[in-house]
């Protein structure tokens, strides 16, 4: 049986003696044949649609305004997006959502992971329980929180009223800014297990003797956290940040279920705006241009992380 590495080696060899041996050439074509299905899939499912979408974004493809005329309009769609107040509103909202999500969730996730890393009775059960929210589909989570936030019969108002924290039922999803924060809380509940599991995995790789040494040197609990634990968690933190930034930047499903972008457009994040433009208003040209701008935005963030990671490595 030929291992993938053999194929690579064979290809290398074939390259150095190009065309000299029929057998070698055969191996090379075999390599090509083996790659073709994957290439086709990647091309068909990713590259072609992206190129085609880019093509659409350069045209006026607005089914409602003119369905048969799709003139080439260059970068006009992009210019319209960048000039749109809706775009900037939803961008700032998305940025707020992303930054606050990351900060809150990282702190909470780390705190829970630190607790679960300690020895205590029932630790296994608690570790399993913490995973439950992660196992729920986002749609179910959205419906769940919709009921929790329900003004008249919701659990949140019920709890806070009984505790005497509030004197009358609150409209949790009635005010734009508050609704955005409530969506953030619902999302946090759902994704926290991801942070916990990732941090926990990293925590378990920290050798115990480092803590012992630090303790002998007189480091306090806080000192051990800052000087031993956190430096070891840094690579994992970066991975979490990369993945979660990309996720929160494109947050859509929980908003679709919980608020539909309301009230007063308060939870209309950038992905929801793109969905509205494309699928509800049928302006595909504008919608694809918008999606490309979102794509470039996420790419820029990803590249930023690559930079940070590089300096990490140099250090």
């Amino acid at each position: 049986m030929m291992q993938p590495t053999d194929v690579v080696n064979a290809t290398e060899r074939a390259r150095s003696h190009q065309g000299r041996s029929k057998i070698r050439f055969g191996e090379r074509s075999l390599a090509v044949v083996l790659i073709i299905p994957t290439l086709l899939i990647v091309f068909g499912l990713t590259i072609y649609p992206i190129l085609y979408a880019f093509w659409i974004s350069l045209h006026q493809v607005d089914f409602i305004k003119a369905r048969n005329a799709t003139p080439f309009i260059g970068l006009a769609n992009y210019a319209h997006v960048l000039a749109s107040a809706y775009f900037w509103d939803s961008s700032w909202r998305t940025l707020y959502f992303t930054v606050v999500s990351l900060v809150v969730q990282t702190i909470l996730g780390l705190a829970i992971a630190l607790v679960l890393n300690e020895q205590f009775i029932g630790r296994g059960i608690v570790r399993a329980l913490i995973l439950i929210p992660w196992a729920l589909p986002t749609i179910v989570n959205g419906v769940l929180w919709e009921w929790i936030y329900n003004t008249d019969y919701g659990a949140l108002n019920g709890l806070l009223l009984q505790l005497g924290v509030i004197s009358e039922p609150q409209l949790w999803l009635g005010d734009p800014m508050r609704a955005l924060n409530m969506v953030l809380i619902a999302d946090t509940w759902k994704v926290l297990p991801f942070y916990v599991v990732m941090f926990l995995a990293a925590l378990q790789t920290i050798p115990g003797h480092l803590y012992e040494a630090a303790a002998i040197d007189g480091a306090s609990v806080w000192g051990r956290l800052v000087h031993v634990t956190l430096p070891y968690l840094r690579p994992m933190l970066l991975v979490i940040l990369v993945l979660r930034t990309l996720q929160t930047f494109r947050v859509f499903d929980i908003i679709y279920v919980l608020t539909q972008g309301g009230p007063g457009g308060g939870t209309r994040v950038i992905a929801f705006y793109a969905y509205e433009t494309t699928f509800l208003n049928l302006n595909f040209g504008y919608g694809t241009a918008l999606s490309f701008i979102i794509g470039l935005g996420t790419l820029a963030i990803a590249l930023g992380y690559v930079r940070v990671l590089r300096t990490e490595e140099v250090d």
């Binding site: 990713t46 329900n150 699928f279 999606s291």
Partner: protein, 480 residues
């Protein structure tokens, strides 16, 4: 050593994986768009011979049979002799699936053809239709909500059916039944149900409060509500479904028209920031604030607002016909058997008797359909337009109120649905929402500004001024 756990290469490859992931996941909208291409004008009447030749071989028996009556007998092939119904593909909401299956059998028995169903939750239906038709899938019949008619017509998703609607059919329908799909001088779809909003009231609460009849005007509604709240019979007078969603527009139109406002004036200019319209929004906002209306209304939909009424926390509710069975279901309602119906209130200030917003759905035929005659047969059966006997089973199976005027007065129907006698009284006061191809955009703008008034971010006049300005920038009111 911990360094091994996250060696640079691992980190890099993880990041690379993340970046590849970015390519794949950050552009779901793009990929979906990638499938979309504007339907070519030649789709309806194929100009290119290649288009015809590629389409023909697979459909020669069916499409030939369907479009040319002469071919019906010889081309039938595997199908029962003498018949030759085509395979018709339909996109509709999954709520109605049992009804589609019932009609599928009728269609098969009548023609030998088959009905293939593509159903999904109502909320996904619009997108499903858009992506299917724009992507070139062969679909014959699609469901068309009242607010999608103009949009689908302009987008080229529907083919006019004026020729197929006889005068007898049109005359047998309830008032305004065809309005939502009449656009640019053509009829694009026909109604499957006849929905509008009615006024529900809790007889027990009214009786306890010594109120003899439900309020006839919105001014009275406030007075009556305050009495009932003071007597601790209800939490609020009425709860509404005013969250930022389509349901808000229905209620807003109902109240705006009741207060003498209108979407546009006689000169064809948007005018819903003037006169009665502003009074209506003032009325809505101030009564939410004073808790005559459930303050949570701004977070409820027309469905979730039913919970408040069904628990007996309010005395009144404006809602669609489907609420009737829901609030009378002892399993999910505390007020079952205590609910009555009447027409929506009007106002003293504008001397309006009543107003109501129309809804419901319809069915139309796509231009790409290769068997339009068979597609019409299916549409006729589903909507019961061509088969009035279908009105009753449709009502029983999916609760769709009949589209034929006579059925509303039919003793057989009234025996099963006695509330119809009250419901039909609302019909003369019913009006549909604006028939605009960019309705979704229009509706969203108005929804957002109205909710900004509810949350206190803007004063009612300012919110409506902003809504009118934004709508004006997008286009004009429908003409004619």
């Amino acid at each position: 050593m911990p360094a091994d756990v996250f060696a640079p290469s691992t980190r890099r490859s993880l990041l690379r994986a993340a970046l590849v992931g970015l390519g794949a996941v950050s552009l779901p909208v793009l990929q979906a768009c990638g499938q979309a291409s504007p339907p070519s004008p030649s789709a309806a009447t194929p100009k290119s011979s290649t288009a015809q030749s590629t389409a023909k071989p697979t459909n020669v028996a069916t499409s030939g049979a369907a479009t040319t009556p002469a071919a019906a007998t010889p081309a039938a092939g595997a199908k029962p002799a003498g018949r030759g119904g085509a395979k018709i593909t339909l996109i509709g909401s999954s709520d109605s699936r049992p009804w589609f299956e019932y009609v599928g059998k009728q269609y098969h028995d009548a023609t030998g053809g088959s009905l293939q169903l593509i159903t999904q939750a109502y909320d996904q239906t619009h997108n499903k239709i858009v992506t299917a038709i724009a992507g070139g899938s062969s679909v014959d019949v699609v469901t068309v909500d009242t607010i999608w008619g103009a949009e689908f017509a302009d987008a080229g998703f529907l083919t006019p059916i004026d020729q197929r609607l006889t005068k007898e059919i049109t005359a047998s329908l309830v008032p305004h039944a065809l309005d939502p799909w009449s656009y640019k001088g053509h009829q694009w779809a026909v109604p499957v149900s006849y929905y509008f909003k009615f006024y529900y009231y809790n007889t027990e609460i009214l009786q306890k409060g010594g109120i003899s009849a439900p309020p006839k005007t919105y001014e009275d509604l406030v007075d009556v509500s305050k009495q009932l709240i003071d007597k601790k019979l209800v939490k609020y007078g009425q709860s509404w479904g005013w969250t930022q969603a389509e349901g808000l527009i229905c209620d807003w139109q109902q109240l705006m028209l009741a207060f003498g406002g209108n979407w546009w004036d006689k000169s064809g200019q948007w005018s819903f920031n003037q006169g009665g319209a502003v009074q209506a929004l003032d009325y809505m906002v101030s009564n939410l604030k004073s808790k005559v209306f459930d303050p949570a209304s701004s977070t409820l939909t027309d469905r979730t607002t039913m919970n408040v009424f069904a628990r007996g926390d309010t005395a009144f509710m404006t809602n669609w016909g489907f609420a009737w069975s829901a609030v009378n279901d002892t399993k999910q309602s505390k007020v079952a058997g205590k609910v009555k119906l009447t027409i929506n209130p009007g106002t003293k200030v504008a001397k309006v008797v009543s107003t109501s917003c129309g809804g419901g759905g319809g069915f139309g035929i796509t231009p790409n359909s290769k068997a339009k005659d068979d597609a019409w047969t299916v549409v006729g059966l589903i909507t019961s337009i061509t088969k009035p006997e279908n009105d009753l089973p449709k009502l029983k199976m999916i609760g769709a109120p009949p589209v034929h005027e006579a059925m509303w007065h039919d003793p057989k129907v009234l025996q099963e649905e006695p509330q119809f006698a009250e419901m039909i009284k609302q019909a003369p006061y019913m009006r549909h929402r604006p028939v605009l191809p960019w309705y979704t955009d229009f509706s969203k703008i108005v929804q957002i500004e109205l909710t900004k008034a509810f949350s206190g971010e803007k004063a009612p006049q300012k919110a409506l001024d902003d809504a009118v300005a934004a709508v004006k920038a997008k286009g004009n009111p429908p003409t004619g």
